[in-house]
Amino acid sequence: MDAPALRHGAMFDTNELELNMGPQHPSTHGVLRVVLRLDGEKVVDADVVIGYLHRGIEKLSENRNYTQIVLLTDRMDYVAAATNNVGYCETVEKLMAIEVPRRARYVRTIVCELQRIASHCLWVGTHAMDIGAMTVFLYAFRERELILDLFEELCGARLTYNSQRIGGLPLDIPPGWDRKVLAFVEVMTGKVEEYEALLTENRIWLERTKGVGVIEGPEAIALGLSGPPLRGSGVPRDIRKDEPYAAYDEMQFEVPLGKAGDTYDRYVVRMEEFRQSLRIIRQAAEGIPEGPVVGKVPRLIKPPAGETYHAIESPKGELGYFVVSDGKSTNPYRFRVRPPSFCNLQALRRLCRGHLVADVVALIGSLDVVLGEVDR
């Protein structure tokens, strides 16, 4: 009996098991389906199947006028809906060369960062829950609730805000809102410590996340990662710094970076982003200038013929909008979104290989995908 035959197939066949994770599964965060091929508990291959939440937002947009599209963007990353609004409105403003008043830009900054905290709250809750720490989930949701209250006051909605208009805000902020935001910043600063106390130095947490799903900087770039997964690998890329939008050029903040590029570093980066976001919110809320909230916008929004791409740093990464206008109609000729979740999800297959089933759950959590955005 020759040895090679022993190793390959004929002698000892490895009984591979095909396991369908999702679309109905408690920790695929929605309707993601991962077809795992398992050798025992080890993942040999992971096939990511998407599209269960496809609503055709890009195509629908071609039949809506520019203002109506704002509410479609709410439905993409529904845990940070206002960020989508801001990104879209800024794209159209760029196409039409509309100057947005400074007050509106400040409010947009606050809105974006509040959304980042809300999104990260949801992420830390579900990520910890996936790894089995159930209490963090409820703590994080408790604080997310405060943010939802702030938004309810700002625009009347709690999930899909429709909070921006092309050229500025639909309404000025309610009186005293900025003070409530500052009060929230005070509360939240302590709460972030609370989450970290439960997780950051927890031995089980360290064992579950350190060295899991390592991805080096160059490879992260090659895979097209953006946002915290990219920065977790140590690549200093943050659109808020590199190509400032809203009022970020006037804000003081740092971009946290990881080293190893494993699940733990992605976790640390996001936790630090909580603090940086709070810092930005405090600066913006304290320095809101007086003035109008809407710029000079024509009654009929009909951009000149041309195309533009504009990206912002959403909580999940680079959220880009590409809008083509033919200059004749009030609908975009082509509307295209570069959703960060979709691009980050590309890495899942590469990350899962060689890890265990339990790690797949942790990895999905550490990429922080929202299926509404992946499928659009």
């Binding site: 190793r7 000892f12 490895t14 009984n15």
Partner: protein
């Protein structure tokens, strides 16, 4: 009287389940009947005033060995029934015949030998009383070397099982 009822009930269960073990088609069911059989044998040990052995029987046989069987049965997950093929030269009736002969022989020994033989004198008194204590005393004094050999055997079996079953070392 109570003892007789207990004995016949237990005997009926033991033999009944033993027959089911070897007669059932589904291997998992067979393993389950084996567990039940072992549990009733443990009850028989209690009847025989050997509670320590009864507990060991449950712990080692039911809790250990049969779990192993169950694991293997679940792991192999056969694509075709294990008894689909039969060797044409197999003589099943001969098996039954031989078994019957063995039963006859054993029964004869049981009936004839015990009828005449008087029970041997009581064993040499041990310095301890109680079932567990006595078994322990014997194991660690008179039968210490067999005991150590048995533990070596278990070690060898453990290593052997790992070497056999592991895919790559």
């Amino acid at each position: 009287m109570g003892e007789a009822i207990a004995f016949y009930t237990l005997a009926a269960f033991i033999l009944g389940f033993a027959v089911l073990v070897i007669a059932t088609k589904d291997t998992v069911h067979s393993v389950l009947f084996l567990v039940l059989d072992f549990l009733f044998v443990a009850a028989l040990y209690v009847l025989l005033e050997a509670p320590f052995l009864a507990v060991i029987q449950v712990l080692v046989y039911a809790g250990g060995i049969v779990v192993l069987y169950l694991f293997v049965v679940m792991l192999v997950n056969l694509k075709r029934p294990p008894e689909a093929h039969q060797d044409p030269r197999r003589r099943t009736w001969l098996g039954f015949g031989l078994s019957a002969a063995i039963l006859a022989e054993l029964a004869a020994i049981a009936l004839y030998s015990s009828a005449g033989a008087a029970p041997a004198g009581p064993a040499a008194a041990l310095p301890v009383a109680g079932n567990t204590e006595q078994v322990g005393w014997l194991l660690y004094t008179r039968y210490l070397i067999p005991f150590e050999i048995a533990s070596m055997l278990l070690l060898v079996a453990m290593i052997g099982a790992i070497v056999l079953a592991k895919r790559e070392l």
